[in-house]
Amino acid sequence: MTVPWSIAIKELRDALRNRWLLAISVLFAVLAVGIAWFGAAASGTVGFTNVPATMASLSTLATLLIPLIALMLAYDAIVGEDEAGTLLLLLSYPLRREQLLLGKFFGHGLILALATVAGFGAALLVILVGAEDVPAALLVGAFARFAVSSMMLGWVFLAMAYVLSCRVREKSTAAGLALAVWFFFVLVFDWLLLALLVLSEGRFSPESLPWVLLCSPTDLYRLINLSGFDAGAEMTGVLALGRELPVPVWGLWGALGLWMLVPLTLALVLFRRRI
């Protein structure tokens, strides 16, 4: 395991050096505190209101942001090394390709994990100290679930970025495709699903439709974060389908895990075929 570890450490050091890690952590912290305080501004109040509403807003915003950060972090993992001429060099070293890719994954995964813990952890402390009448146990539990699922969501999109990076020949292509992936899972998928719901006018069986949510890691992520509450009110839009989803919470986690493993395996296969 020393080879993947060496690669992971280098990635982590790069992120420290170019201040990526710091920037992401600060962004997460500011975001979380901001939402906790101003999330209810639309209803005329400022300040921490309640845990379910906060988690719902937070996970909605994180759904936009975390995939984007993960894709930006990893889209050039392989194709970037190829363009710099270091990929051929690395492949001539006594290491296997899966070690190289796993090393990148560990490194990028660690960056996201540290940023999540540092950023959202800081936000949690600020809320606990600064707000009055906070149900501390409920909030800590919700934040823990939020932090872990955020990491997972980031890892899912890291794996997708590797698929792109192993497949294409130019960095700019990988960047373009990464944006397309982000756009699809963050916006287009839900639009399509809504359009389907509206246009089908109930012709689809209500039992099968909720399963479609499993096809989107971002929807899975939001379902996981709302699952802890009796939060029917927060499940708006396509997530309303989730209320009818006959899958226990661990099933949602498992599905998110699959969303990480399948692209990672695909990336490995593509990387092995690359010359």
């Binding site: 080879v3 710099a84 051929l88 001539s92 070293y93 006594p94």
Partner: protein, 288 residues
């Protein structure tokens, strides 16, 4: 031990065959120059030896084991063409990273940096390095772990004349210690005195292989004799003639027997002449 053995190796991408029936051996302590136009198959040959590509047919063995095996890779050093490394790392950090990946002790890094003349720049970011400095860093990287086989792809690109001379001195030194070196280049001038044998690739085929004298015999190119003679009036006459190799000595004898000859310059067919000759004859053969 034989450093490289290639037996009837064929390789292609899709339907185009890039290498046809290549057989080549390089012994320990031998320096082989691998020459050819862009697209002649040099890089493919390198990748086959590195084990990054697998041959479609034939066999490639490196240091006694099939190419690409961890043991072969650990004892092999490779300097790729145009490697820019990681701009955010310093030279020392770059070498440390690659040493860890290769599994060699990092204690030898200071000596390597010194050997390539990068000690003063060792802690600067590679971003600030000139092309020649990056090339030297690449060379230090290739020398990690005292490899028994060194593959150098265009090693002199971006080096100034002094650094080039240093590089060749280094290669000479390594050769004496038994390291096999494959030097891939299209800069032919100056390289001939440092290589033991030359391999000339042309359109994916090995067109010629041998030491310089062997290739000169095979090509049958003419030698150039330039003589300076002083006529009875004291005027200097310069006389140039090209002769075939086996008449060279007869001409030299005749010239030195003439008392008016004050100087004779003998120029053998250079590597460049040979290269052009083999490229042209290959082209002609192809057209027929």
């Amino acid at each position: 031990m034989t450093a490289i053995e290639m037996h009837s190796v064929r390789h292609g991408y899709g339907r185009t065959t890039v290498l046809h029936d290549l057989s080549l051996t390089v012994g320990a302590g031998e320096v082989l120059g691998l020459f050819g136009h862009n697209g002649a198959g040099k890089t493919t040959t390198m990748k086959l030896i590195l084990g990054v590509l697998r041959p479609d047919a034939g066999e490639v063995r490196v240091l006694g084991v099939p190419a690409g095996e961890a043991r072969a890779r650990r004892e092999l050093g490779y300097l790729p063409e145009n490697v820019s490394f990681y701009p955010q790392l310093s030279g020392r950090e770059t070498l440390t990273y690659f040493a860890r990946l290769k599994g060699v002790p990092v204690s030898g890094i200071a000596a390597l940096l010194d050997q390539v003349g990068l000690t003063d720049a060792a802690d600067r970011r590679v971003r600030t390095y000139s092309k020649g400095m990056r090339q030297r860093l690449g060379l230090a990287q290739a020398l990690l772990g005292e490899p028994r086989l060194l593959l150098l792809d265009e090693p002199t690109v971006g080096l100034d004349p002094i650094a080039t001379a240093d590089l060749y001195a280094l290669i000479d030194d390594l050769r004496r210690r038994g390291t096999a070196v494959v030097l891939c280049s299209h800069v032919l001038a100056g390289v001939e005195s440092y290589i033991d044998r030359a391999a000339i690739l042309c359109q994916g085929r090995l067109r010629a292989l041998g030491s310089l004298p062997e290739l000169q015999r095979e090509a049958g190119l003419r030698w150039r004799l330039t003589s300076l003679q002083v006529d009875p009036l004291g005027r200097t006459l310069r006389c140039e003639r090209t002769v075939v190799a086996k008449e060279k000595m007869a001409w030299l004898r005749a010239l030195s027997n003439q008392p008016e000859t004050v100087d004779v310059e003998v120029r053998a067919p250079s590597l460049e002449d040979l290269y052009r000759h083999f490229q042209n004859t290959a082209g002609r053969r192809e057209r027929v």
